[in-house]
Symmetry: C2
Amino acid sequence: MTHPMTKEDFPVSNIRHFLEPGPIVLVSSQWQAQTNIMTMGWHTVMAFSPSLIGCIIAAGNHSHDLVRNSGECVINIPSTSLVDQVVGIGNCSGSEVDKFKAFELTPGKSEQVGAPLIEECYASLSADCTMTPWLNATTCLSLRS
Amino acid sequence: MTHPMTKEDFPVSNIRHFLEPGPIVLVSSQWQAQTNIMTMGWHTVMAFSPSLIGCIIAAGNHSHDLVRNSGECVINIPSTSLVDQVVGIGNCSGSEVDKFKAFELTPGKSEQVGAPLIEECYASLSADCTMTPWLNATTCLSLRS
């Protein structure tokens, strides 16, 4: 048995607190000699097969150009043992920090893409990336089987 | 201290098990005299302000036409007390079932849109909707402040 709930107004610019608590992932990318890792919470499954993931990688993120130029990335799923790295990676920029070194993470070789996976993560999803003009930020990722 | 993990291949068409466990929401909509509720797990925050949410509402969903025709919906956040309704709503079609009646949920009046909110839910986010041609399914929701 459930009952109607009393509600109050809430600023819509803060509603991410309601919708964000999905899995936080680490996106690793590479363009030429430069690698980066980005903490990302804004993503959604879009289709089963072919497997398609939508991600929001804003133009202001250092990873944006690496993903756009290479057309590839790896979505790495961290376990809770990596919580300090996940928070730290999300609070500094790849323009100033080599994140693999700074956070003592091991770049691994993906069988599918040139971007490195993160060996310490629970799962790694290698993806081809298509940037869309939507918001000048959205990335549509097609996972490689 | 963290260590590299041994990994094995996994079918990419099943990777939603890794990325889906975010908040499951109930999308309520109305077009003319018909209302519906849809259980949805494929969504992401896209921007803070203006508040923008991306959702995947496939053309095969009964809610698709209601949202497209009205240009509106409400994203309702259920609490765990509604788990039976959330599962049930996700396993039948609004083409055959009046979901508000069948699941004993109370349609409430939104101050922002014509679509009904669900009184039993913890939070209700009223939204203008713009359907995009992407996949013939994606809905981009702009929340009303």
